[in-house]
Assembly symmetry: C2
Homo-oligomer: 190 residues x 2
């Protein structure tokens, strides 16, 4: 090793500081959390990344999922929920079962080495609703491969997860068309 080469420790610092995978959180009560994550996925796919998205508490293929299936071979989307509203205080057994399956999928996707970026959509809500344990999500974050990019979305991000993240964006609702009586619509909400 020449004197000009960084020591292994210095290299490790550089890797950690400048080339490590990033943990991003999109939370808050405004519109744009899932779409920000999918936009990030599209950016990553365009740069040659392999991206896996696991959608908690969702059982319907939204437009972004349909587009990915049809057009984006490097963007894999899994649904781990029912297409119905989860009751916060009384989740149905299948809600819990599917969320646990999503967590297993997440663990495997993160550890597999098959992906450069893993997105856990709505996982913050699944934790807040106690469908899955916070400790398991913390474990996934802490044991991820160092160069993996990880994104977690959903309202109610736990402070422990915010602490572990590199970047946290809170999307605040200033105005929402729901409040004007405008309903869910293809291309906008799904």
């Amino acid at each position: 090793m020449s004197e000009m080469e960084p020591t292994p420790d210095a290299r490790k610092t550089v890797l950690e500081k400048y080339n490590k995978g990033l943990v991003q959180i999109y939370t808050g009560n405004g519109k744009g959390k899932t779409t920000a994550a999918f936009g990030q996925a599209l950016r990553a796919v365009g740069q040659g990344f392999r991206v896996c998205i696991i959608q908690f508490m969702k059982g319907r293929k939204y437009g972004e999922c349909l587009a990915a299936e049809r057009c984006l071979p490097n963007l894999t989307v899994h649904l781990s929920g029912l297409d119905s509203f989860v009751m916060r205080d009384h989740p149905a057994p299948p809600d819990i079962e599917l969320a646990k399956q999503g967590l297993d999928l997440a663990r495997k996707a993160v550890a597999s080495g098959d992906y450069d970026m893993v997105i856990l959509d709505e996982i913050n809500v699944a934790v807040d609703f106690k469908l899955i344990p916070l400790a398991d999500v913390i474990d996934i974050i802490q044991t991820r491969p160092p160069t993996l990019d990880l994104i977690l979305t959903g309202r109610y991000a736990a402070p422990e997860i915010v602490d572990l993240a590199d970047t946290v964006s809170e999307i605040r609702e200033i105005k929402h068309h729901y409040n004007a009586g405008i309903k869910d619509r293809a291309g906008i909400e799904y």
Copy 2:
């Protein structure tokens, strides 16, 4: 017309209230504005929409643009800027010229009928930096075809534009990896 059919006025109200195109704004100092717009575009494309994105003050094809060019024929992206920083108080003549060209493209895309959704990325900043007049952007919003979806992104959204929008999300920076010395990276920033 049977008595059960809505009057033209009632139909107009229903169209305006429930089936009208929506104006959305993504603003604020946090990461996720452009990606939220591209995620919305991906959702719309998956539902069969034709989407046009005009990127103000950007001159480099980011990953999302590369992915769209390669894989998403219904998502057209135009760049209307240089690949260099615009000085707020001293924009270079080409910055102004390219922003004006972007505004012309925006006007044409909105009026053409060729698109179901038009996204004007970073246009709020172009207005705030006085590269283009606020009045022209207001005019585009007010004269758009009634079923067109329009999305405007960028920090510093003008209050006049916020007033005209159906949905406004402010993306607040809670944490950003820049503050830990982590630099721009493919797949994350571009």
